[in-house]
């Protein structure tokens, strides 16, 4: 999956000369925490976050006076060397950028212009899509030896029971690296047949556990 498939294109932006006050208004109105600062040609100049604004605001103990600080232009407080990404980057890659830099938002640049924005929330939403959790289905987790061909064997069993797979995730089995965990989301209300078949063929179904199926 690439960035342009998940980025938002409805951009809320500020000019460097806009007042900080304006940033506060926009953040409240659109429920966002980051606003890119661009020139009239949409060249990215910086970014302003809700934390930049908090830093610029006086103490909450000084509530009884006007915030003259908020009359200043945003370019005085914006972050200038912004970390960015590109529409054809992989989502996996930018997820790592988020993680490594501890940031929550990435402006997306194409031919030198701002064309989109991706936030941590978009990444989480993508995770939901990847796990298939937005479609009706049941989830089962199977422990398999970490050798070639196991995924194919397990999916063959599901296919023999005419079960449509909505998503598959394979990840390390933490306690023992000679095993892997495969998580399936299958399109059925009744996963018991699949669980029986897997157990019969010697696989360990981690969840739901077989003892919760036979009573």
């Amino acid at each position: 999956m690439i960035v342009e498939e998940i980025m938002s294109r409805n951009l809320i932006t500020l000019l460097p000369t806009d007042k900080i006050k304006q940033a506060v208004v926009l953040m409240n109105k659109y429920h966002v925490r980051h606003i890119p600062v661009v020139d009239k040609e949409y060249t990215l100049l910086g970014i302003i976050s809700d934390r930049d604004i908090k830093d610029a605001a006086p103490s909450i103990f000084a509530q009884d006076r006007e915030f003259e600080e908020f009359e200043k232009p945003v370019h005085e407080i914006m972050t200038k060397n912004v970390i960015v990404a590109y529409p054809l980057d992989f989502v996996e890659e930018i997820s790592f950028t988020f993680y490594e830099n501890k940031i929550s938002c990435l402006p997306i640049i194409h031919k030198g212009k701002l064309v989109g924005i991706v936030t941590k929330t978009d990444i989480l939403n993508t995770l939901v899509q990847l796990t298939g959790a937005h479609q009706p289905g049941s989830q089962i987790e199977v422990k398999v030896p970490n050798v070639a061909g196991k995924l194919s064997e397990v999916t063959k069993l599901l296919s023999d029971h005419h079960l449509n797979i909505l998503s598959v995730l394979v990840y390390p089995y933490k306690q023992d690296d000679t095993y892997r965990t495969i998580v399936f989301r299958i399109e059925t209300l009744n996963p018991t047949k699949a669980i029986y078949a897997l157990v019969e063929h010697g696989y360990e179904v981690l969840r739901p556990h077989i003892t919760d199926v036979i009573r």
């Binding site: 959790a133 937005h134 479609q135 009706p136 289905g137 049941s138 989830q139 089962i140 029971h161 005419h162 079960l163 449509n164 989301r185 399109e187 059925t188 209300l189 009744n190 996963p191 018991t192 047949k193 969840r207 739901p208 919760d212 199926v213 036979i214 009573r215």
Partner: protein, 391 residues
Amino acid sequence: MKHDALFVYSPDFLTYKFNAHHPFNQLRVEMTYDLLKALGALSDQQVMKPRQASVEELKLIHHDAYIQAVQKASQGLLSKDEGLNFGLGTEDTPIFPNMHEASAYLVGGTLTAVDLVMSGSTRHAISLGGGLHHGFCGKASGFCIYNDSAVAIKYLQQKYNARVLYIDTDAHHGDGVQVAFYDDPKICTFSIHETGRYLFPGTGTINERGYGNGYGYSFNLPLDAYTEDESFLYTYETAIREIAEFFKPDVILTQNGADAHYHDPLTHLYTTMETYKHIPKIAHELAHKYCNGRWIAVGGGGYDIWRVVPRAWSLIWLEMTGFTLKEDLLPKNWVDKWSKRAQHPLCTTWSDPPNLYKKVPRKKEIEEKNSRTLQNLLFPIRGTERNKNVT
């Protein structure tokens, strides 16, 4: 007002049958009927014959193209690929002869119950063939073809201009009904279910609260696996009382899936008959408090048809009619009759035996988690009381 309650039933409900191995088995409706008869709690005058819902009525919720596909499938004329686009011909909803008629009959049963209540012939009515809450407007899902409850709610709204509170106590999320009224503030849906982390359909999180004008009128209470009676009933009762008070319905429609029981093979909530005693009691009380008694009950899931469903569903009727059980033993002739066909030894008492299952080790943690979910659920409607100490 002639009756306190009427029982919509016909052996034709049993024509909704996918195949011999399918877990959804309407024999449980006949077993319930038979149990109530054996008990002497159901007279012939209280039994009403259902009708088949018309295509026009189905169209209140379902797309034309979908209904036509079901009709074609019904005659064996739908191709495999065409069917799969509509969720027909899958493991969950296989195609069977006359499936349109059988499905429309279940919808008609629920509509019959609606008309009996709304015309004033009775205060309460029950149609256990219904409760097919996973059916979508254009797709079959989770054992459900047509969504009788969604059609009935739309019907209540259009024909009787009623504000409907839909209460879904099936162990699975009532996704089809929720989505049908997701943007409608005049219909309030509440579903309590096992969390969708592993369980079908996976939706029903607390954040699904509705959309547009309907925001704030969909309620979901997802409970952890191994919840047990105490926590189930505490969270359920607290939630539904506050939701009913918030919404003030004209009529209540309850979906009574009986699959949250310990014996149920598809779920893990670990409730017992204690839960199924209380669920209809609360519905009954709320119907009298807000709706002048108007209460329609339908069936739903329930996959231990021998040990669980007939007992659980009978309790709804006993509550509706105010019938008091004289003893805890089930009628012997009923037990003898059905024992011959049952795959498990039947339970011979209305209550479950004590120590039905081994103690759940994480009980306290699960209860705390459920209580927190409950508080988050009710937070928006508790409004100004938000600073009160809510326990």
